[in-house]
């Protein structure tokens, strides 16, 4: 099987890769680039644990072929910090106690980041609607909603 050449910008770094044509973005990130923050929990797009940003928009990386994103920018949880400082969302997730087992956390934060990218001041209802894209099995979501609210306030 012939490989496919792609150039992607991952967390502000231009990367050239030769990937399998049937390789998912999640595989590329985890297996080739050792970016294991995005998690594989269902592999079928049902849970959101593998969410990353594709040109600023949250996507399920388990449903995307890497050849599809040639030329695109990808942001993963590992790329969220700026100048060594945590993103307000990361801070708020810690401070509000929105993290338990942590397996959904990176996907949840990336979904929230996507929301704040397109809506700087989301209402509580908008936050709930947006993070209803992701499954969390530990927290009951309450502290996650509070953390996103807190982060959007901080960023305002």
């Amino acid at each position: 099987m012939k490989t496919v050449k792609v150039t992607i910008n991952v967390n502000n770094e231009k990367i050239k890769l030769q990937v399998k044509p049937y390789e998912t973005l999640l595989e590329t990130l985890r297996e080739r680039l050792a970016l294991t923050g995005a998690k594989e929990a269902c592999s079928l797009g049902s849970c959101g644990s593998c969410t990353v940003l594709l040109n600023g928009t949250p996507v399920r990386s388990c449903l995307i072929l890497t050849p599809e994103v040639d030329g695109a920018s990808i942001t993963t949880i590992e790329g969220l910090k700026e100048d060594g400082k945590l993103h307000p969302l990361q801070e708020a997730f810690m401070e509000k106690g929105a993290v338990q087992c942590g397996f959904c956390t990176s996907g949840m934060i990336m979904t929230a980041k996507g929301l704040l990218n397109r809506n700087k001041k989301p209402s509580r209802a908008e936050i709930i609607k947006s993070i209803s894209s992701n499954i969390c099995r530990c927290t009951g979501y309450k502290k996650i909603v509070e953390a996103v609210e807190e982060a959007s306030k901080k960023m305002a």
Binding site: M1, K2, V4, K20, P21, Y22, E23, T24, E27, E40, S43, L44, G45, S46, G48, T51, T57, P58, V59, R60, C62, L63, I64, L65, P67, E68, T111, G114, L115, K129, S130, S132, S133, N134, I135
Partner: protein
């Protein structure tokens, strides 16, 4: 879960896509948002030789207004469409079904074309190859009989698209282009009614556009699910009222969405249609709620949607 082996080709024009399709003798799939296709491939329900990425085809993406119609490229995402002012203002039923589709993240990736053309579903079909091999292949997979309705030589899988019924109620049409040329058909004509091969679209043909008449309508969409997001409809009812008459679309039960027409909107007509849709619905035990219940909900939801429209239509 890894994907089966296939080649990846990117098409820049419709002609190129059709050309690649024929090169591979039809052992090919068109890829747009991938939210429906990729899980099917991961489950080995299909094993194409090539996946043809048609996202880069510019003319399939655009949303334009022309002569009282909204011309929608099939690769417009559900989220883009939901944000289109004309739909928000004039087509409340379609707006609500778009809003009710899956979850926000998948709305941002999933396309309207892919959503309309999504494969039918069944609890005994959307499973891994190992699961299905242990169970024995069903009729839809090339086996002898259905695994839900034992001994039936038919497929009872459910069409679970949220938006086709809404489109049907607003008289939307689909433009199909294929190796033999182009045609425009009503959205309802896309569906074969056969669970095994749910679409009338021929191998290689591409959904090129959706034509949505832009007239003032009233309407609403009601969706029965267990959860408030991510889920497919267990029953979905779309209603659009226009110039005194109404159309009702029903989805989530059986291999195709159905559409009904009310010449006049009054209680008697609504009850008639609710009864008729109830009679037509023939659910089987292939989704997470019981068939008897889902059948019952068809009538209940139809009446409920009309009531909601009467009260202003909002959810």
């Amino acid at each position: 879960m890894i994907l089966p082996k296939f080649e990846y080709k990117k098409a820049r024009t419709i002609e190129e896509a059709l050309e690649i399709y024929s090169q591979y003798n039809g052992e090919a799939f068109y890829l747009a948002g991938g939210t429906d296709l990729v899980p099917l491939l991961k489950h080995r329900l299909f094993n194409p030789k090539v996946v043809i990425d048609i996202k880069g085809i510019e003319e399939l993406k655009t949303i334009t207004k022309k002569g009282g119609n909204l011309l929608v490229g099939p690769n417009a995402t559900l989220y883009e469409l939901k944000g289109t002012p004309e739909i928000q203002e004039k087509l409340p039923c379609l707006f609500q079904s778009l809003d009710a589709t899956s979850c926000e993240t998948l709305q941002m990736r999933g396309t309207i074309g892919g959503n309309i053309m999504q494969n039918t579903r069944c609890l005994q079909y959307n499973k891994s190859l190992e699961w299905r091999t242990a169970r024995g292949f069903c009729y839809k997979m090339g086996g002898k009989t259905c695994n839900v309705v034992l001994n039936a030589k038919a497929c009872y899988s459910n069409y679970c698209g949220d938006n086709a019924p809404s489109l049907m109620t607003v008289d939307a049409k689909a433009r199909i282009v294929g190796p033999t040329g182009e045609k425009t058909i009503k959205v309802e004509k896309l569906f074969s009614g056969d669970g095994k091969e749910p679409f009338t679209v021929k191998p290689g043909e591409i959904l090129k556009g959706i034509i949505i008449p832009l007239k003032e309508t009233k309407g609403a969409y009601e969706k029965l699910t267990v959860r408030g997001s991510i889920d497919y409809p267990l029953v979905g009812v779309a209603v659009t009222i226009k110039d005194g008459s109404a159309k009702v679309g029903v989805t989530g039960i059986g291999p195709c969405p159905r559409v009904y027409e009310l010449k006049e909107v009054n209680e008697k007509e609504i009850n008639n249609i609710a009864d008729k849709a109830y009679e037509d619905a023939k659910p089987v035990l292939n989704a997470v709620l019981t068939p008897a219940y889902r059948k019952k909900m068809v009538g209940v939801l139809i009446k409920r949607v009309f009531k909601r429209i009467e009260k202003g239509g909002s959810r």
